[in-house]
Symmetry: D3
Subunit: 335 residues, 6 copies
């Protein structure tokens, strides 16, 4: 018994069981997996579609980010669907969980191709839905965007990247690793450097060469310090405004290593001096509200490295729900 | 859409999704949840039925043993169904997961009543199946046995207890806590003291009064040191032989605190100087092979206290699979 | 040899030994346990009385908050009595440690009754002292306030609650758990909804139904975002001002889950996006300075879940000392 | 208010409070601190006297073993006084806790002198009691034995050492560190090399030079492998028999690093391939039964390095109670 | 300045600095890195050559075993060169550290080819040395053996595998992962199934299909239970005897997941019910003594998952030193 | 083969190996150890010289801060030399690692003397370099400053201290521990109280007596709250301005316990309510830019207490690199 997405996308490993006594108010009681019972046509109405991308063997340093899609789904039980700050209930939207991209153990290139295919298939089928990829390491972003590009090659794509790093490393060194997605997209012609906006660079975690490359390609960036001075929300809004005058679609990528290590122990490359949780959520909310942001991802969160109470996993899920809040606020506003 | 056991038993919180590409060889691909789709009559053929009993607020010291049923189910993925030592494949047996006993947050007495009811219902419906309760703290044993007794009050029940403690505390002090199940059963007339056999007592974890009570009631016990001298398997076999001459049915209860703390960090009351993993598995296998052992439980394992790689949770699951191995060996032998 | 509070209140489990060489400057050398040697009359002069309330089996999710009273007392050794920011020495005040409310292992209702009785006894005996309850989970707040109400039923009580949650769940579901204290007080007529002020709600941790209930009952609340915009101190001051025009006595309850999970790993329900330590201390100091704040509690801190260096336990103690600083500043000011 | 031992020995940092409702059955309800109320004469009847020796700044590698005396006292609550294996109740003996040797922060030599003085004072006052020192690192053993020697210089002292190391390092390199106690005693003429018996050496944790020194001085030793082949108990008995034909008094020193690292995570120098808990307890019990064993210590256990459930601290306490069991068995036998 | 092995093998990431005051007695003061200063000819006299193989992105489950070569070198400081049990000093042998195989981030196939090349180069250059590979995951074993085979294709190779698993998975599923090395060698014709001996299989960690494949190919195996009954050393000796009658060279591979999870928390796939440390060391010592054992590896140890005191890393190093002890005992015996 | 600093300073324990393929962009590929090959004269041009000071047995509470110099060097690999915020590349400066001060295990006084000697030697040889001491506990600061003073007794030294504590304890109590360095310098006449500026005091971690002493000696201090109100950078600038009008040279000492415990789990005395990472880095950058700041240290960071991903160690290194950034900005500005 196979869903209409199989074998391009595998179903999630496990599913939450609905309470027999009726509908609940928790996230795990709301988000629906796509199964053999899901009606393909009806599914197109979903406001949001989740795709698990459990790949991290392409990470430069050892990473268990491949475990995040499952940890993400498990953490749903700790969240309600109601956002008190904005007084909205996310459960008024339909959110589907498409499952996970199938991966190969030793052929990373095949894994990347599978992601492109899955992304393309989702963007093709769910033309009006936001596609949210749950990584995985940052190499997946290039593939998700390529899949999006495949669907409609004429649409210009811009990227809003929240990240400690440029991720502009040279692919000729070590292939499409998690240090390369932005360069990958530039070199493959999928996104122009000038349509990339990076917020959060700081400290001693990038090289001069990469900055030079960024400047050469016209990549836009705001160090964390600069963004803080202006305000994170204001910075995001400025990026979105500039982007929306230049591109048709915006892809938001959140590399969790942008966070200060005190807030994100479960990120292999987390660093001191990064964003606070409050700042990140503020930025993501603003991005979620923008109508041109059609897809997003959350990457580089390694649940195996998280501390006992799983603060980083919970925070990853909070980032996702905050993005959805933005989406819903936009919808309400545009009605 | 509710199973035939509802509302006496809730479905498990989550279910593993079968691989779309066909049947696998892992435990999570084999054990079936009882759902609305389960045929009540057909289900009676199950060799084994699992019942989650997520109660630990009745524990003397703070315990998260209520989280074990879920952690137990999650760990299935780390185990195959094939036991190489015995060259048998457990998947030839049918094992059903009935789900969890519904619990109340602040009325422990109601929780206990619910367990009795659920146990009775299972023993009534699954007359030829082994009923395996996954605790929860040790207070649940008295309830599981009472439920078993309800079904057929004329059947004499004996208990094989693997434990660091007597669990014979006076209920008038603090009610039916995890320190009392054996006394509870004696005082309620459900099991006679002389039909109880305890293996594993050691160290400085019991009081003189309790030993006196045990002696007064004719409870049989082997300290860990005595059992080691004779051999754990031999000791278990002797207990089973004595028991089977006196009772109709034997209930095996495994309190994970019997293990040395080096093997079981995730047990709130674990102690130095306890059993090794090898010894416990040897004992449980012998018990599983005995035809009169009709029910069992695994208690006092707290996943919240376990270390990163979850050795205690994995060990709890291993105990369960080892019991099943015994059951299957018996079946093969008796064919 | 029993104290005048026995058996309503048990002595603390352990006491710090005074240095033989004279008086020290640490908190554990200052706070005095109430023992058989304590003179009941003289004790009435104490500015502050501590009551341990080691109950957490009433918590919805598994919690070891029952261990906090002991961990709290142990942490005293890490703190001096001198507050440099305010240039005051707390040791000029008399602070007594009354010990712990006796608890029952399996009868939660009896535990709750014992808390009411103990609270009543303290408020009766120590009419001029601030009563500080050290939880335990949040269910104890309803009981502490009921005990206070018993003493003088004509006095109107208001509540200042610092919390991530409403704690207004329906008691008919699961009894007086840690999700219900505010509703418990409303429904029992002890505190009016309009005399409740909640600061700190945020994220996806409350349901729409509960907000509706809060609105229906006139409960006042400030989300964390709203409080931050206004300033935490200013928000607290506004709440206190409104409250003091309406009630005779104010009870401050600090649910440690209000903190961001990065600051409070040792809180079972801690969440991303919560208060910082600085914000919480600022709010508590302001509350401590208000003359109508006669009692307070600190709840839902689970030392068993804390990380190695026990940051959450230390923070819980810091909250307490900060409250005392407020009390002493008030006294100095009013002299 | 000062005890008769002050200022040679400080009282313990904290004391357990007796249950108001009468005598309990736990270790913390049994062992009595020596306070100002203790009658010096009466105290002489104590079978056992405990001395905390919180010194570990003399350790070669960084160590928090100075925290063990306090952690040891805290762990008492997890143990009853009744040993079921031997069917004896330790509470029939009187055990006093003398408190801790005063230490200096930066003058290690003064710390060592203080230990000698305290040991001498105890051996002088408690002539019929077993003196149990709770370390601290292994440098304290030389000082405890020197103090014992001071009291009666004509008494010949032998040592039974359970240890992974020789502890025969050259003091001219780095002074009396935890690597030197045995050499210290040989070179100071307090104990002859031929009256030292070491059990437990193994692996790659000693140098050839030290073995040469041991051989030169006639130190007796059994590698763990050799001891296992013969049996740990039998080896201990042989050592004791040889020793008792040569010396008047035997001092037992247990360096917890003798344990396999799986059993003793909380020992800075713990190693793979060491003793099991069962083996150590077996050896200590045998030593405790010998009438010439008049003093003992437990050293090199660092509670700050222990894992969450504190298996090593619990094991240290178990070693102590097992020694006491031996003592009591001897007394019963000799009556 | 490059060593004669460059660029086939990279130098180690870091080197220990010799004490200025002369030669020490610790392992890190003894083992020499191969650098630009190393004389190629002279180096051929080394008894043992170490090769780091930092690859674990080929592991089925997320693994940081790629970090073991570095952690292994760091742990040297905790070990002396002197083995007291055998009274031999390893420092009489010359042991060289060749450095690490260069790896590619996203091309696993290239990593595998690099390992084959490096292994071949070492076996070619160091014809009389034992080659010890420090993994990395188990996929590297196939590559190390292939490299060995390249050097002398006419030499028959046998394998002694100490492992919880068969590692005979079908490569057509997921390529040459850590589940496949033995099948890889059979299918590539490098080693015959009947020249493979596996010790340590147990529990529920293999499938029936793999056992069938093993039987079909004539792979020899002893479950842990069977090996224990016969004795681990005796089992190893029997395997070596059988092997040496059939092959020219024996390769020993130690998959650390053979250990019980209590002894090896830092192994992603570690399981309950495995070998003890003592058993593993006994087996490795016996293997080291056999003259036909010319190469070995230690795999699947993930330092990122190890607990605080790094018991698994230390144990991995102990396995290596124990192997060397066997080698040296053999040399001494054959002189 | 000994460096020109030996035996006053030992070489570092280990050194990073340069990539054979050319120069890299990471910190460990840039900073050079001083070895036998280092030319003494040429070395004088170094802008910065690092000195490891691995002493923490002088710490009041048990500390493994002695392990920080090594952990610090290991963490270099996680940092690039390029600071994006300031667009400068640190690798344009020469930074030498002199190695570690030799320490004695049991003679703390000798350790302190060795530090004075080493500091003096460095200040003598490297007259134009910034000397950065990597502690160790805070007692080392007094010794580093005394060594600096030795070199040029006529130069007036001022201190900028970032700290939670005064560190003005009376040395007559416990000698020159980590609680005393500032008093040590005052009493020895090396630095006048009025030339000391402390930023960061807060909470309940100092005594009234110490404040009194500070006031008596004219020590300048800003509580964290006061500094926050003014701005951390502004406060630092004010201190530096005042200092530079009064002294010739300024020594910056950063006690990592100034940080909030959420940011610095690996500091034994860390407390709630401290500085954020952002604030500390801001302050250190400002200090680094001041031309009179000639030396600095980072103390009281205990890697053994840090959490898994080592956030505190990384932060310590970040503090160092931030100081260097300030130095380089100054140089660029003054060119």
């Amino acid at each position: 018994m196979k869903s209409f997405l199989y074998p391009i996308i595998n179903p999630p490993f496990f599913t939450w069981v609905r309470p027999e006594s009726g509908k609940g108010s928790k996230v795990h009681e709301w988000i629906q997996p796509i199964t053999a019972l899901t009606d393909p046509e009806e599914s197109k109405n979903a406001e949001v579609v989740i795709l698990g991308v459990p790949l991290s063997r392409s990470s430069i340093s050892a990473s268990g980010a491949s475990e995040f899609p499952e940890a993400f789904r498990r953490s749903w039980r700790s969240f309600t669907t109601y956002n008190l700050d904005e007084e909205i209930d996310l459960s008024e939207m339909t959110v589907l969980d498409a499952g996970d991209v199938p991966m190969h153990v030793t052929d990373i290139s095949k894994c990347h191709t599978n992601i492109i295919t899955a992304s393309g298939a989702l963007h093709h089928h769910f033309q009006h839905s936001k596609i949210c990829a749950i990584g995985g390491d940052h190499s997946i972003t290039a593939m998700m965007v390529k899949g999006m590009h495949l669907k409609n090659p004429d649409e210009k794509i811009g990227i809003l990247q929240i990240d400690t790093h440029f991720d502009l490393r040279d692919m000729s060194d070590n292939g499409p690793s998690n240090g390369t997605p932005m360069r990958n997209l530039i070199e493959s012609g999928v996104v122009e450097g000038s349509n990339m906006y990076n917020i959060g660079l700081h400290g001693f975690f990038n090289t001069k060469d990469l900055k030079q490359y960024a400047d050469d390609k016209g990549v836009n960036y705001f160090t964390l310090r600069a963004a803080r001075k202006k305000g994170i929300e204001a910075t995001v809004l400025q990026c979105l405004e500039e982007l929306s005058s230049k591109v048709d679609t915006i892809y938001l990528t959140v590399d969790m290593d942008v966070l200060d290590i005190a807030y994100a122990p479960g990120v292999p490359a987390s660093t001191p001096g990064g964003m606070t949780t409050e700042e990140l959520l503020e930025g993501v909310l603003a991005a979620g509200r923008h109508p041109k942001v059609k897809a997003m991802d959350i990457v580089c969160l390694d649940p195996l490295r998280d501390t006992l109470v799983q603060p980083t996993v919970k925070l990853g899920t909070h980032v996702f729900l905050t993005f959805l809040t933005g989406v819903m606020l936009r919808q309400s506003a545009s009605k």
